[in-house]
């Protein structure tokens, strides 16, 4: 692509690309986000391309491998435009049929349509599906319209308009004011005002100034940052460019998890192309503003999501946080003023500049503006990424968008905010989700993981799970976190093994408080949350483990036994065949039994029994 030298030239290029595109030209978009790729959608893309070649349709029909569409549950997803026909669970060999029937003849293939589980109606268009209908996909919605490796695609949907606007005469202070007025708060967990952070970094003495995009998304169960980086890397770059201009920074870093190879690849391509076009480098668009971006791959440490640890890691040290008496905005990377924001926060910036702070303010609640992307996962029918306006209720997210709990089981809790978040019980389902409301019920926004749990999830086990995770990821620098979390884990483990004592609950409560007060960084200061929140709402489950030596959800191995219901057993012998220790035995067509002395509680018989005859108690 030819280098553009002025804002006007970039604008002209945008127009040129827009005009060269025929909106009526058939376009097959295949979701190639990580979820769909896992289903094999790359093969599907290849098949579509081969088929286009075979049928001599090159130039007449476009095939686009796009970023994540969010509805991972129903992948692989294919959208056919201009009609906006939505096909789901597309088979890898369906390419030929789709081109012949739908693209060329306008016929709908019934079996690929989404069926509304409530009304049993077949739904034709993406935006009519309940999963999408209740969302507000301002940041994430563009993913489906572009090939993440095509800068032209991004320009065609008006990409870099915000950059043009800013470099066309907006003063840096005015940009900061706009972001401040919009009320955008950090989406990475902290929830701090982005505008204030920018302002502090701009005003801090010392040059150079750095900006960093935190893409070290380590929360197990959250993947929105990855999907943005994979699906629309340009919007993040655009946000960073605007931020750098406002702050007065000439170097930016993107710190991305090495476990996200596709994200690394796509953002690298985006940076290269931006350099080629001349919107990264020296004297960008003739404005005298210099800026370039370096990509740093993380080493796989959860604590590096904490900003001071992340800075240490970029400097080539191990990622240990430091006490924040002085904020990174004063002294950050290489001791220079540094502004760190999360991927999703950066991606919101172009939107605010384009549409204005007032418009942005109109979405959301009093102190939380805009939308938030959540990863809706766990025991939920519609697993996927959902972008909703702040203030929507948990019930709407879980039931209207998420489609409720699989197999009609009972909702128990939703865990929001990642390992340092908290479990929210059914009684708070009508909570309006925003930064403050979540904190009030003992949870947090975090990075936006939302894990739904049903009556077969043991809350003690979940708390133990998070403690184990945090114990492993604690960097070990400060004692309350290193030793405190370790001791809490030992106590919880004892409880799940049936050796809990009544005073244990009191101990973990005060220990939790001590860890919160005494820890150096956010990881330690929030580590007890999963325990304290489950203890707050599900104390009875803890007590059942301790007093009755019983796991009500049937999860904790030491407290359960597998038995066979003689009424339901048909003597099919599957359990006997599969049992690795020959504990399940019996003759053909006769009731089987499980020898409790031999049983290792591996769960194989429970899983394989087709007659639900194996019971957990």
């Amino acid at each position: 692509m030819k280098k553009v030298k002025t804002a006007q030239e970039l604008k002209n290029l945008q127009e040129e690309i827009k005009n060269s595109r025929d909106p009526e030209k058939p376009c097959i978009t295949i979701c190639a986000g990580t979820g769909c790729l896992t289903y094999g959608s790359q093969k599907l893309v290849d098949n579509f391309r081969a088929e286009i070649e075979k049928q001599n349709l090159k130039g007449k029909v476009e095939v686009r491998a796009s970023g994540c569409h969010g509805f991972c549950e129903r992948g692989p997803l294919v959208v056919i435009n201009p009609q906006n026909i939505f096909y789901q669970r597309v088979g890898l060999d369906d390419a030929e049929e789709i081109i012949k029937e739908t693209v060329l003849n306008g016929q709908i293939i019934d079996r690929l349509l989404y069926v509304d589980p409530v009304t049993q109606e077949k739904i034709l268009h993406e935006d009519e599906i309940p999963f999408y209908k209740r969302q507000m996909r301002l940041v994430f919605g563009m993913n489906g319209n572009i090939d993440p490796n095509s800068l032209e695609d991004y320009l065609a949907i008006g990409g870099y308009s915000a950059l043009i606007k800013v470099l066309n005469g907006m003063e840096p202070e005015a940009v900061i004011e706009e972001i401040k007025t919009a009320g955008l708060r950090g989406r990475g967990g902290g929830g701090f005002s982005m505008g204030l952070k920018w302002e502090a970094t701009r005003k801090a003495p010392g040059l150079p100034k750095y900006i960093i995009c935190n893409a070290d998304e380590g929360d197990p169960g959250a993947y929105m940052d990855r999907s943005l980086l994979e699906g629309n890397p340009y919007s993040i770059l655009e946000g960073m460019l605007i931020g750098a201009y406002a702050i007065g920074s000439d170097t930016g870093y993107i710190y991305v998890r090495n476990e996200y190879p596709l994200a690394v690849k796509n953002i690298t391509i985006a940076v290269d192309k931006a350099r080629e076009l001349g919107i990264l480098g020296k004297d960008i668009l003739g404005s005298g503003f210099d800026f370039d971006v370096l990509i740093v791959r993380g080493g796989g440490a959860f604590v590096c999501g904490e900003e001071t640890a992340l800075i240490a890691s970029i400097e080539g040290r191990s990622g240990e946080p430091r006490a924040k008496y002085v904020f990174p905005s004063e002294r950050g990377l290489y001791n220079k003023p540094t502004n760190i924001n999360n991927v999703e926060t950066w991606a919101n910036v172009p939107l605010i500049i384009n549409k204005g702070a007032e418009w942005y303010r109109s979405i959301g609640t009093e102190n939380s503006k805009g939308t938030k992307i959540f990863a809706l996962v766990g025991k939920i029918n519609n697993t996927g990424l959902v972008e909703v306006p702040m203030g929507i209720t948990l019930r709407e997210i879980v039931y209207d968008i998420g489609g409720g709990i699989p197999k009609g089981r009972k909702f128990k809790a939703v865990q929001v905010g990642g390992p340092s978040g908290g479990c929210i019980p059914e009684s708070h389902l009508d909570l309006q989700v925003d930064f403050d409301a979540l904190s009030k019920v003992g949870s947090m926004m975090g990075s936006g993981g939302m894990i739904v749990m049903d009556d077969r999830t043991c809350m003690v086990d979940v708390a133990l799970y998070f403690l184990k995770f945090l114990e492993e990821e604690s960097c070990g620098k400060c004692t309350p976190c290193r030793e405190g979390v370790h001791q809490m884990r030992l106590i919880l483990e004892r409880i799940t093994e049936g050796n809990g004592k009544e005073e244990d609950l009191k101990t973990i409560e005060w220990m939790g408080k001590a860890i919160i007060d005494g820890s150096l960084c956010g990881l330690g200061a929030t580590a007890p949350n999963p325990v304290l929140s489950t203890l707050r709402y599900f104390r009875d489950e803890y007590e059942a483990h301790i007093k009755e030596k019983r796991c009500p959800a049937g999860v904790c191995k030491a407290l359960i036994t597998y038995t066979i219901d003689p009424e339901l057993c048909t003597g099919c012998m599957v359990c006997a065949k599969i049992c690795p220790v020959e504990a399940a035995t019996g003759e053909k067509k006769e009731v089987h039994t499980i020898d409790q002395d031999k049983c290792i509680k591996c769960g194989a018989c429970f899983e394989s029994c087709k007659f639900d005859a194996v019971k957990v108690s």
């Binding site: 991972c72 080539g316 766990g378």
Partner: protein, 158 residues
Amino acid sequence: MKTRVKKIIDKYHSDKGFLVPILQDVQKEYNYLNREALNLVSAFLEVPISQLYELGTFYKAFSLEPRGRHEMKLCTGTACHVRGVSLMKDNIERILQIQAGETTPDLEFTFETVNCLGACALGPILVVDGEYHGNLSISKTNRILKKLGKKVKIDEES
């Protein structure tokens, strides 16, 4: 080995700020961080070997031991956890007779858990040599391991 390590370091302009990516590339080249390569990095960049070991033991991505021919990564993210992945973990550990994070003595298998693969719709998930196996069950792990040459009882019908 000298030229291979030098090539990696040159890629990052011998910048000490890129120690983590340099070690990542070294690990990719040799499948683990071997002593000899670390010595070379230390000499080329003039950083103490202790600093390289600090990084090598701090970050999860690094391994100081050789890794197995087959790499098995089991997702133990929260979504997979609530869907019962720990039963499958126990099953794999039992069959391979190693704990997660270890390599079998014959260097055939390295089995480890990872925190989230971001494909939660398919959870639980096991990645074997780069291939994803979604909606994992105990019997699926049995079948996968049997295919890779382990002696496992499986139920033919399922």
